[in-house]
Symmetry: C2
Subunit: 206 residues, 2 copies
């Protein structure tokens, strides 16, 4: 029972999928996604697929079998990154007081957006072409934020008269004037400012 094959197979699968891939196939697929993430980050979304295959140590044919188009690959990478961002919410919530968790998560959100600079146009096309992708991921992100905000409101570390959508709205400034060199700094200050506002209210009303 302990070494039952199907249990091992299921252990492998990140999300339940139709067919359990052969071990080598799963390995290559994972590798490709991982490498693609870093190549896209460093070279932009138009990076050479052949370079990705090369760096992953597989043939170009293997890449194409797993991801028939560039968009397929980009989508998987993008979903994985959103996933990781959202998962960080839970981890931060465990390790830190809830107001600190919220702040750190927002800073991480800024970092995440930063890596998407330059990918903006292609990503916008992808998101407008694939509306499921858009609603899935934006839903996930705002859910993660909601979780953090509600926890912080609940234990009184931030003021109680705001909710997640207010905070998201306040964060929307980080989408503007994207390509300027000061963008990163400004955005980090914006988050601090926002946190001060949130904490200030908490002290006052308690």
């Amino acid at each position: 029972m302990a070494t039952e094959p199907s249990a091992i197979a299921e252990q492998k699968a990140e999300a339940a999928e139709a067919k359990p891939l052969r071990a080598d196939a799963q390995r290559n697929r994972d590798r490709l996604v991982e490498v693609a993430a870093s190549v896209f980050a460093e070279r932009g979304i138009d990076a050479s697929l052949e370079e990705i295959a090369r760096r992953a140590g597989v043939g170009i044919g293997t890449l194409y079998r797993h991801f028939p188009t560039r968009e397929h690959l980009v989508e998987v990478v993008y979903r994985r990154e959103v996933e990781a961002l959202c998962a960080a919410a839970g981890e931060l919530a465990q390790k830190h007081p809830s107001d600190v968790a919220l702040e750190q998560w927002m800073q991480r959100f800024v970092d995440y957006i930063a890596t998407k600079r330059g990918l903006a146009t292609s990503l916008r096309i992808l998101l407008s072409t694939n509306s499921t992708l858009f609603s899935d991921t934006s839903g996930r992100v705002s859910q993660a934020l909601r979780q953090l905000v509600e926890a912080a409101v609940a234990d009184g570390t931030i003021r109680g008269d705001v909710d997640a959508s207010d905070v998201l709205h306040a964060l929307s400034g980080i989408y503007s004037a994207p390509d300027t060199p000061e963008w990163r700094g400004r955005s980090r200050r914006l988050v601090k400012l926002l946190m001060d506002g949130l904490r200030f209210g908490a002290v006052k009303t308690r």
Copy 2:
């Protein structure tokens, strides 16, 4: 004065441009646009640029000098086609009674939309990327339609209680269910139906 060089140069230019191209360059450019229009129409917007150069009898380098990106070329072709469509309004107005001119122009509009089937996605991306292109061309088209409608209203061949935007609105049905085989026929019938409605009113209210 009759053979003054600058006069000849200006004669060549379709629209006043910064630099009067050398004769051979102008010839090649015109040729490329013309060939590109038919190749795009027959192979779709992703047609090979090398084929276009080949068919135009120029080197690929020449194509790229005139049109640094595919989008540049597509844009010029698109503008030229919209131009031709709008110019047809004036010609039809001269040759036919104004209600007939209006009807024929609308049928031609249907034909024009028909050639854009399949190009839909790429064209939509281009139009959303390049907002000037969108506003320019849609402005031109509705202006042409307005001219025809107003003339027909003025001489009483169609009813007087409609304007160009009503007609455009009524035509919007031709954008829907685009890829079905009956689309063409349905759209032509829609135009006839619309014209009958417009003429009917004219008889009644006069």
